[in-house]
């Protein structure tokens, strides 16, 4: 039974994008190795993200309604399976890291005796459910959860005004440009490439870039405040030494001996956004795999793919220390071929093909 085309509203798109981008940074503060310069790195990364969004928008609007994988199939034919394989691989990888971070976070901050895969199992089950319901439901879910998320961030940040010491900020660029660049790179959301599989469902394809732009700006803005709050509450060196700085920063809040120990709000936020991050990865992975093997509907293999990710979590990283080391040292560079060069090649080839098609359409048919 062919389903009707799912349509994402603009707000759903923005919410999905925003939640995906904040996915893990909100809790781990990606780029914090740059020290104080991370606050400058955020706007720089935003500029880079917007440039990337140009490329992704172009890919999506060359043939409106077609996702990147559709485009690859049109251009490369059989060879496109190689592209799918690479996309699936990185999607699975990101999903695994997100799920491990989930499990580790909950285990470290509050349930030390509960096994990680038990916690992961619940989240994975929910993600299967969400992905099986389709993109439209996912978008609507995000549309509801994103305002809650923003509200919690704002509320918690307001409550920590008392603890904020702005004199701890600075000096900026004290060690030259190098830390700034190393801080910027992890913040560049190459994961936006996954949205070339999502935003082809946007109701109005002309607004694709606007959705990207608004999502990126909103994320940058929110992350900036979170980073600023964490650094000014905890101090830079303490922030750098923690795995989950947001959690610690909010834990300090104590208003009138009554409003205190509300760090659970941070957990709620992380779970909301991480859940969307996981679901998007799962969606892309199952979509890629179903294309790889020629299945009609990706829903049928969503659950197996999620189980695969669950299996990866058992051996991929033993704990948060390993994960964080890898994420900080290798991951920013490891993802480049998958999430940057792959779309780039598709884009260039797509432009050429689109131009050819246009010329064909305008020329009179050959005799």
């Amino acid at each position: 039974m062919p389903r009707q085309k799912e349509i994402l509203s603009n707000w759903s798109g923005i919410s999905l994008l925003g939640m995906f981008m904040m996915g893990t940074s909100i809790i781990t503060m990606a780029g914090k190795d740059a020290g104080m310069d991370v606050l400058l790195a955020l706007p720089m990364a935003a500029v880079a993200n917007i440039l990337l969004a140009f490329m992704y928008t172009r890919i999506l609007t060359l043939y409106p309604g077609k996702s990147m994988m559709d485009l690859q199939e049109m251009i490369f034919g059989k060879l496109s399976k190689l592209f799918y394989l690479l996309t699936v691989w990185i999607a699975l990888h990101v999903a695994t890291m997100t799920l491990i971070l989930f499990g580790e976070f909950i285990q470290v901050v509050s349930l030390p005796e509960t096994p990680r895969y038990f916690i992961c199992g619940f989240i994975a089950a929910l993600a299967i459910w969400l992905v099986k319901d389709g993109l439209e439901v996912m978008g609507r879910w995000a549309g509801f959860a994103f305002p809650v998320f923003l509200l919690i961030i704002t509320g918690v940040s307001l409550l920590s005004i008392e603890d904020i010491r702005l004199d701890t900020l600075g000096p900026f660029l004290s060690k030259g440009l190098h830390p700034l660049l190393t801080g910027t790179f992890p913040l560049i959301a190459l994961g936006l490439a996954f949205f070339t599989e999502v935003f082809n469902h946007l109701g109005n394809s002309r607004k694709t870039f606007r959705v990207f732009l608004f999502g990126i700006l909103l994320t940058t803005f929110s992350l900036f405040f979170v980073y600023l709050r964490n650094i000014s509450v905890l101090g830079m060196s303490f922030t750098q030494s923690l795995y989950f700085p947001s959690y610690a920063a909010v834990g300090i809040i104590n208003i009138g001996n009554f409003l205190q120990r509300i760090e659970v709000a941070v957990s709620v936020n992380f779970i909301l956004v991480g859940f969307i991050r996981l679901s998007i990865c799962l969606y892309v992975a199952s979509k890629g795999i179903s294309r790889l093997f020629g299945f009609q509907d990706h829903r049928a293999i969503t659950a197996p793919v999620a189980f695969l990710v669950m299996a990866f979590t058992l051996f991929a990283f033993r704990n948060i220390v390993e994960l964080s080391e890898w994420v900080n040292s290798t991951y920013p560079y490891y993802r480049v071929p998958f999430l940057f060069f792959l779309p780039l090649v598709t884009w260039v080839a797509g432009e050429i093909k689109a131009r050819k098609d246009r010329r064909k359409a305008t020329l009179p048919p050959a005799l």
Partner: protein, 593 residues
């Protein structure tokens, strides 16, 4: 736009034409009551539809009477009243005792029919009033008429001046009785035994005449119905107190009296092979969405069940997602609520014999709306709405939150409160989760027994409930006092919205179980799942959560808040027909805003 329901595939395909005749027949002249006898349709005779009898009437009255006696064997409520109509020979009235209005049968059928014999016909020897007959024969009709009138011999029921005579009716003498004699608001002719039988069952009177292959179906329905009073489940502080009763026509009247426009449409259908229940789709043409209407008809026509006793049967049969605990259709016993829904572009379905109307599409936010909100001050209405939402949130979350706080996240509880909770738990035999589950279970049992308990036993229940389970159990150190407080709070807040009772019980238990596994994280996973379920639901293609957490100004006016009437300029989105969203123009109302 509408998701196909998987379960539908197992249901027998709808056979076209079953109700076709009915729907065409009913909205015509005479209203639904008159339309009823035409129910029958092409399949009416088959035993599967539950319709008695087949074939058509014969010319012999004896045989016809025997036929009815045979069909209604062992049914002693069947009443046969045999008449001797002067000038026409024998006739017989067939009806069911208790279903017919005796006054109608006596005054409007039997009396005119008996009197009709005084009218002259062309065989004077048969009539017994030869004189008049002779005159009639001799002169032309008009003159004779005049003479009759002057002679003063025309009695009650006889044809007035200018009327035609039995012979003028090519369709037969029955047609003459139908058109000229019987004083009932709806009379139709039929020779089809099954439709005649159905009419008798429906409370009509069937009139058979000697030597006539057609019977008359005379509308004479009349039985006692419950008075129109305020529904016990939906009381209102300020506002109309009329409620539906079990009579479909009466209920439709209550709606019609509120919306007086020819655009208010009532479409009838018959559902139920055996119960043959009349079901009415009610909507405002020009406002209701055509696609919704088509979908509703479609879903109703697909129903193939032997009996419908309440609109709740239909609700489960036409839901978009059959497995959800949430209502995807609205239910009410109040005509004012139905009217308000119709004005918003919704469709209502009323079922004969049930005081509950069903309305589609139904959105989640409607659980929290009450008709009282619109009848009282809008600040107060909004406050009450917020209280209802809080009530729902409390009732689903309090036990789960309490459990996760005291067992997993002690650090989040203020120290003094934690101390007192632990002091209360000293020496208790069971873990908190068991305590909570048992107490919640007991509360539900008390609630359920209270619902169906005769009023005079209520005293015992409240004593046992309050004293034994509450105070004594705490004093005997079986349960801790905080647990009793928590479960009682959950129970009381559950009653803020009686309609959402079942889903909230279910969600509460699920959240409690999730909390017992993973603490607040489990609780949060449960909430994520709940939101996911609510987001995936649709009622007639409209997203179930529409209007909640929307940032559009117009949407907020009638969701969490009840805006003042002069601000509610549009109907809720996606429910009414496209382009029919404005319900009042700018500048309407005294404020002129």
């Amino acid at each position: 736009m509408f998701r196909k329901r998987k379960r539908r595939t197992s249901i027998k395909p709808y056979r076209a034409g079953r109700f076709a005749g009915y729907r065409q027949g009913s909205p015509g002249a005479g209203g639904p009551e008159a339309g009823a006898p035409e129910a029958g349709g092409p399949e009416a005779g088959s035993p599967e539809t539950g319709s008695p009898g087949t074939g058509s009437l014969t010319r012999s009255l004896e045989d016809n009477i025997a036929l009815f006696r045979n069909i209604f064997q062992q049914d002693d409520t069947l009443t046969l009243r045999e008449l001797d109509v002067p000038g026409f020979g024998k006739a017989c009235l067939v009806m069911i005792d208790g279903m017919t209005d005796s006054d109608v049968v006596n005054d409007n059928i039997i009396q005119p029919v008996l009197m009709s014999g005084r009218v002259p016909v062309r065989e004077p020897e048969d009539v017994g009033q030869p004189k008049v007959g002779e005159q009639l024969k001799a002169g032309g009709q008009p003159e004779v008429r005049g003479q009759l009138e002057v002679g003063g011999q025309l009695a009650v029921g006889g044809p007035p001046e200018g009327s035609r005579l039995p012979e003028d009716f090519k369709e037969g003498r029955a047609a003459w009785f139908q058109k000229c004699i019987i004083a009932a608001k709806a009379v139709s002719r039929s020779s089809d035994v099954s439709s005649l039988c159905q009419a008798v069952i429906d409370g009509d009177t069937v009139w058979l005449l000697e030597n006539e292959p057609e019977g008359l179906i005379i509308d004479s329905k009349g039985w006692k119905t419950r008075a129109i009073d305020e529904p016990k489940t939906e009381t209102v502080v300020m506002g109309p107190r009329e409620g539906f009763n079990e009579s479909l026509i009466m209920n439709l009247t209550l709606i019609r009296r509120r919306i007086k426009t020819p655009n208010l449409k009532f479409e009838f259908m018959l559902i139920g092979r055996r119960s043959r229940t009349r079901v009415c789709i009610c909507y405002l043409k020009e406002i209701a969405k055509e696609s919704n209407l088509r979908e509703l008809r479609n879903r109703l026509e697909k129903i193939d069940i032997d009996g419908i006793l309440s609109s709740s049967y239909l609700r489960e049969l036409i839901m978009d997602s059959p497995y959800t605990p949430f209502d995807l259709t609205g239910t009410t016993e109040r005509p004012d609520i139905v009217s308000a829904n119709l004005l918003e572009g919704r469709l209502a379905v009323l079922v004969d014999g049930s005081p509950c109307a069903m309305m589609v599409p139904f959105l989640f936010v409607e659980y929290f709306q009450a008709n009282d909100d619109y009848y009282t001050n809008f600040y107060f209405g909004s406050l009450n709405r917020i209280l209802r939402i809080l009530g729902f949130l409390f009732t689903i979350s309090i036990p789960g939150l309490y459990l996760s706080l005291v067992t997993f996240h002690h650090e989040m509880v203020p120290s003094s409160l934690l101390m007192s909770i632990y002091a209360a738990r000293q020496g208790l035999p069971f873990p908190t989760v068991i305590e909570l589950i048992v107490m919640l279970l007991l509360f539900e049992i008390l609630r359920e027994s209270g619902t169906r308990l005769p009023a005079f036993m209520g005293q015992a229940l409240s004593i046992v409930g309050a004293l034994v389970i509450g105070q004594a159990a705490v004093e005997a150190r079986l349960v801790s006092a905080p647990t009793v407080i928590v479960s009682a709070t959950a129970g009381i807040t559950e009653l803020v919205i009686p309609r959402i009772k079942f889903p909230s019980i279910m969600i509460r238990v699920l959240l409690l179980l999730m909390s017992s596994l993973l603490g607040l994280y489990g609780f949060l996973f449960g909430l994520i799942g709940l939101l996911l379920h609510l987001v995936e639901l649709r009622s007639f293609g409209v997203p179930y959560l529409q209007g909640i957490m929307s940032f559009k100004k117009q949407d907020l006016k009638d969701t969490v808040f009840r805006g003042p009437w002069w601000t509610m300029r549009t109907r809720p989105r996606n429910i009414a027909r496209e382009g029919e969203w404005v319900r009042q123009q700018k500048g309407s109302g005294g404020t002129g805003k």
